[in-house]
């Protein structure tokens, strides 16, 4: 190799490294930016409906002041699942910009049962993966729970129920058309 060829290889490498830093860094930056609650509620659909309802629940207001933000429950943490979810989210952009079918509170309410069922189904399929990022059966002290909760949690472990089987509507209001009195895990009406 002549010194000129050496120089050329070196500069190609250098450009590659710099481009790599910019592109990969930028990709990660964008990924992190779109994974914040501020980003989620920058659309009024999210701000006026799910976020509004979240604020009354224990995942927003509680004794200790620890709270969950939208992506804590709705975006998987593992890289591959996260990317899949991010790609699916382009569908939400379609509904925001083109279909405009949830752009008022009334339209959102009318569609809520369908939307909720999607989330319940996804959580059931992943064995409530996002819940378990924070809530872990191994770390639960059943002695500190109310006896009823402790009994039901032990039953859930034995029978393999997942969080969402019982804990529906804990972070947002339940949709119209869903009757909590008819739904119990293991029952014939078990949804999702």
């Amino acid at each position: 190799m002549t010194s000129g060829q050496k120089k050329g290889t070196f500069s190609v490498l250098l450009i590659g490294v710099i481009l790599g830093i910019i592109l990969w860094g930028g990709f990660n930056w964008a990924l992190a930016l779109t994974n914040t609650e501020t980003f989620c509620i920058s659309c009024h659909e999210m701000r006026d409906n799910p976020y509004e309802q979240l604020q009354d629940t224990i995942h927003f207001t509680n004794r200790t002041g620890v709270r969950a933000t939208c992506p804590d429950c709705h975006v998987p943490r593992e890289w591959i699942h996260k990317i899949v979810r991010k790609i699916q989210a382009s569908n939400e952009l379609y509904h925001h910009f083109i279909a405009k079918d949830v752009d008022t509170v009334e339209k959102f309410e009318a569609k809520k049962l369908e939307l909720a069922k999607h989330v319940w189904k996804a959580m059931k399929e992943t064995d409530s993966r996002e819940c378990r990022n924070c809530h872990n059966f191994d770390s639960m002290d059943f002695d500190k729970q109310e006896s009823r909760s402790a009994d039901r949690h032990e039953e859930a472990i034995d029978k393999g129920y997942t969080c969402i089987d019982c804990h529906k509507g804990i972070a947002h209001e339940l949709p119209e058309g869903y009757d909590p009195g008819e739904d119990a895990p293991g029952g014939e009406n078990d949804e999702g």
Partner: protein, 145 residues
């Protein structure tokens, strides 16, 4: 002369009435205590909701049973009723919870309904959770035994 005497008597009478109401005002203490009307009310001490397994005894016949647990997580809206998650016909056995009373399935005209009647839908209109608090006014009430 007669007129002057009349006027004096009426004036004295009025003074007496005004005086007595003024002193009455001072001696009456409401639940608010002696706190100044214009001032801020006394700070309310925070109380916890009582959880009691097996529920509370009724105080009189046909009293709506008191709620022996916290209810903040269960919402009753026009769309759905969170209490029914455990107290419905279908789930109560599994949840070991008392079922909504049979009377709650009757319409105004006594017709039996599939679901809880709308006039019985808002549970906490009659059923209330209990706080760990002393009665504001001492009393000797005893419930039915």
């Amino acid at each position: 002369m007669k007129k002057i005497v009349q006027i004096t008597i009426v004036a004295f009478g009025l003074l007496l009435i005004i005086g007595s109401t003024a002193s009455a005002k001072e001696s009456v203490a409401s639940l608010r205590g002696t706190a100044d009307i214009e001032g801020a009310s006394l700070k309310v001490t925070k109380k916890k909701v009582i959880s009691q397994e097996g529920g509370f005894e009724r105080n009189y016949k046909q009293q709506p049973p008191l709620i022996p647990h916290k209810i903040e997580k269960y919402k009753i809206t026009l769309k759905n009723n969170g209490c029914l998650k455990c107290h419905s016909k279908k789930n109560h056995k599994k949840e070991k919870a008392p079922m909504v009373g049979e009377s709650h399935f009757l319409s105004r005209d006594g017709k039996k309904l599939e679901k809880v009647s709308t006039r019985r839908y808002f549970c906490n209109q009659c059923h209330a959770p209990q706080l760990d608090a002393n009665p504001l006014v001492k009393n000797e009430f005893e419930g039915v035994k």
